[in-house]
C-alpha cells in the first residue's frame, strides 16, 4: 500500500534517516536530498506528491527553495511541509506568506510528522 511519493530535503543525515524510516513504514516512497543548491533540479526530476523541507540548508535555504518552486508553474501547487528549529510566531507567518502548506518545529513527535504528511496530501 503506497501512500505517495515524498521528497525530504534535509541535510542532517540522522534526522533524514529517522524520518525516512517512519514514513516508509507508513507506506510512503521517500527520497532524501541533502543539498539546497540542487534541490530544485531534484524536485523537477522527481515530481513528488509532497515535499518536506528543512530551512537551514547548504547552498540555498529552505525559504529560497520555496520561493523558487512557487514561481515555477510545474511545482507551484506542490504541498510543502516546512521543518525548522525556529518556532516563533513570526517564523510561522513568514513561512505561510511564502507559500508553505504546513509548518512544524524541531524536535517533533514521529506521530505528528505522519499526521502532517497525511493532511498535506489530503489522505
Amino acid at each position: 500500500m503506497m501512500t505517495g511519493r515524498v521528497l525530504l530535503i534535509e541535510d542532517e543525515a540522522n534526522i533524514a534517516e529517522a524520518i525516512r524510516f517512519i514514513l516508509t513504514r507508513d507506506g510512503w516512497d521517500v527520497t532524501i536530498h541533502a543539498d539546497g543548491a540542487t534541490a530544485l533540479d531534484r524536485l523537477r526530476a522527481l515530481r513528488p506528491d509532497a515535499l518536506v523541507l528543512d530551512v537551514m540548508l547548504p547552498g540555498l535555504s529552505g525559504y529560497e527553495i520555496l520561493d523558487a518552486l512557487r514561481a515555477d508553474s510545474m511545482l507551484a501547487d506542490l504541498p510543502v511541509l516546512i521543518l525548522t528549529a525556529r518556532g516563533q510566531e513570526r517564523e510561522r507567518e513568514m513561512a505561510a506568506a511564502r507559500g508553505a502548506t504546513l509548518f512544524m518545529t524541531k524536535p517533533f513527535a514521529n506521530a505528528d510528522i505522519l499526521a502532517s504528511l497525511r493532511q498535506l496530501v489530503g489522505r
Partner: protein, 431 residues
C-alpha cells in the same frame, strides 16, 4: 555660576587642610581678609595673578585651584543630563552650582551615570554577540539538530516492536553519534557562557579568545619564526585563553597563515629594511619584493621593541572585522559597531591602491594620532567560476605630533562625541 566660581571653595578647603587662618592667607597674598572671605564663598571671581599668589601660598598648582578634580564630575553630569528621559529637563545652566552646593549628590549622580554607561556597553556587547556571533548560532542549531535526531530515533526504538536487528543496530549507532555531538557542543556552550558571565574575561568571542592568546605573547609567536617551526597545533595545547573549539580553530588557522608569512618574510629581514627605509609599508614591500599586505601583517608582529604602539585591523568584503591587534590609545572596532570613517573601509573600494591617512582619535582624554596604512586585495580562490573575495588590512603606527589633514575617528556611534560626523549611523547618548 561659572565653573571658576568654585575656585573659592577649593581655596577654602586647601587653607583649612593646611591649618591656616583666613587672615594669615589674606596677608600672604596681600588682600584683605574680608575680600578673601568673599572669594572663599564664591562671591568674587579670582583674577589670574591673584590665583597664582594663592596657589603659591597654599603650595598647590594654580590649575588645581582653578579647575579642581571636577572635570570628570562635570562631564559625567552633562552626560547624565543629555540622556533622554521623557518628561525631564535638567537645568543644565545650573549644573555647576548644583555640583558646588551638593557635592555628595552630584558625585552620586555622576557615579550612577558612569554605571549606566558601563552597563550600556555590556548590553551592547551582549546584543551584538547574540545577534551576530556565528559560534552561538551554529552551536544552538547543532543542539536542536542532534536533539531532533535523538528524539525521533529513540521513539522508533521504543515504539517499533518488530524492528529488524540491522535497523536496531543502525539506530543505536545514530543515537550514540548524536549524543557525542550533544556532549561536545554542550561543553563548548558552557565554556562560552562561563566566559560571558565573567566580567574580567571580557565577554569573549572566539575572535577575542584568539586575541587574548596573541596578546599574552605580545603578538609575536617566536616558535614559528625559525627555520623548522613546529606544527601550530602544538602551541595551543592547554592554552587557558582558548576555551572554545571555535576559538582554537580560529587561532590554528591564524597560526598557519602566520607560519607562511614568517617563511615569506623573516622578521629580521623586515627589521633590517625598517631600519634602512623607515616604516612606509609600500617602500618596504618594493625594496623586499613582497606583497604589501604581507608587510602590513609582519610589521604588526615584530618582536617587542622593534616598532612600538602599532595596531592592525583586517576586514572582509562586507566590512566585518576578522582580525584586530589593538593599538594603545586607538578605539579598536567591533564587528557591526566600527567607526564608518576608518580608512580600512575606504580602501575596500580601491583595491590594490595604497591609502595612507593621518587619523586622530576623538573623545574625552584621547586625541592620539596615528598613521593608518591601508590596502585591499581581491582574490578568486575558486577560480573563474567562483566568487571574488575581498580582504582589507590597515596598519596603525603612532604619528606623534605629525601635521597635515587629519581624519577624526571615534568609537562606535552610540558613545561617540563627534557632533558633525558625516558617517553617523545612530544617535549618540554622550552628545
Amino acid at each position: 555660576m561659572a565653573r571658576q566660581a568654585l575656585t573659592g571653595s577649593r581655596v577654602r578647603d586647601r587653607r583649612l587642610m593646611l591649618g591656616l587662618r583666613q587672615a594669615d592667607l589674606a596677608h600672604a597674598v596681600e588682600i584683605s581678609p574680608a575680600y578673601l572671605n568673599l572669594i572663599e564663598h564664591n562671591r568674587r571671581r579670582v583674577r589670574p595673578e591673584l590665583l597664582v599668589r594663592l596657589a603659591e601660598a597654599l603650595k598647590v598648582e594654580a590649575t588645581v585651584l582653578a579647575e579642581g578634580g571636577e572635570g570628570a564630575l562635570f562631564d559625567a553630569l552633562r552626560e547624565a543630563a543629555a540622556s533622554p528621559e521623557p518628561g525631564l529637563s535638567p537645568e543644565i545652566d545650573l549644573l555647576e552650582e548644583f555640583a558646588g552646593r551638593f557635592p555628595g549628590w552630584a558625585g552620586l549622580l555622576a557615579a550612577r551615570q558612569g554605571q549606566v554607561v558601563r552597563l550600556s556597553k555590556v548590553v551592547e556587547s551582549l546584543s551584538e554577540r547574540m545577534a551576530q556571533d556565528p559560534f552561538l548560532a551554529a552551536s544552538l542549531h547543532e543542539v536542536v539538530s542532534a536533539i531532533t535526531a535523538v528524539r525521533s530515533t529513540s521513539a522508533i526504538l521504543a515504539e517499533t516492536e518488530d524492528l529488524e536487528p540491522e535497523w536496531r543496530t543502525r539506530f543505536h549507532k545514530n543515537i550514540y553519534e548524536d549524543s557525542l555531538r550533544l556532549s561536545n557542543v554542550s561543553a563548548a556552550l558552557v565554556a562560552w557562557l562561563d566566559q560571558a558571565r565573567a566580567p574580567e574575561a571580557g565577554l569573549s568571542s572566539p575572535q577575542e579568545e584568539m586575541e587574548d592568546w596573541l596578546q599574552a605573547r605580545d603578538w609575536h609567536v617566536e616558535e614559528l619564526e625559525g627555520l623548522n617551526p613546529p606544527r601550530p597545533e602544538s602551541l595551543l595545547a592547554g592554552a587557558p585563553q582558548l576555551a572554545s573549539a571555535a576559538g582554537r580553530a580560529l587561532t590554528l588557522a591564524y597560526l598557519r597563515n602566520y607560519t607562511a608569512d614568517a617563511v615569506a618574510l623573516p622578521w629580521m629581514r623586515l627589521a633590517k629594511a625598517l631600519d634602512q627605509r623607515g616604516p612606509d609599508p609600500l617602500l618596504l614591500a618594493q625594496s623586499l619584493d613582497v606583497p604589501v599586505p604581507l608587510v602590513l601583517r609582519r610589521l604588526a608582529c615584530l618582536p617587542r621593541g622593534q616598532l612600538a604602539g602599532v595596531g592592525l585591523v583586517a576586514c572582509d568584503g562586507s566590512g566585518g572585522i576578522v582580525f584586530r591587534r589593538p593599538a594603545p590609545g586607538f578605539p579598536m572596532p567591533r564587528s557591526g559597531a566600527a567607526c564608518g570613517l576608518l580608512p580600512l573601509f575606504e580602501t575596500l573600494a580601491q583595491p590594490g591602491t595604497p591609502l595612507r591617512r593621518l587619523v586622530q582619535v576623538t573623545g574625552r582624554g584621547s586625541g592620539a594620532r596615528f598613521w593608518a596604512y591601508s590596502w585591499c586585495d581581491r582574490s578568486w580562490p575558486q577560480g573563474f567560476e567562483g566568487p571574488m573575495v575581498a580582504q582589507a588590512v590597515m596598519l596603525l603606527i603612532p604619528a606623534g605630533g605629525a601635521e597635515g589633514p587629519t581624519r577624526r575617528i571615534g568609537p562606535s556611534c552610540r558613545i561617540c562625541s563627534e557632533q558633525s560626523c558625516a558617517a553617523r549611523r545612530e544617535p549618540s547618548f554622550v552628545l
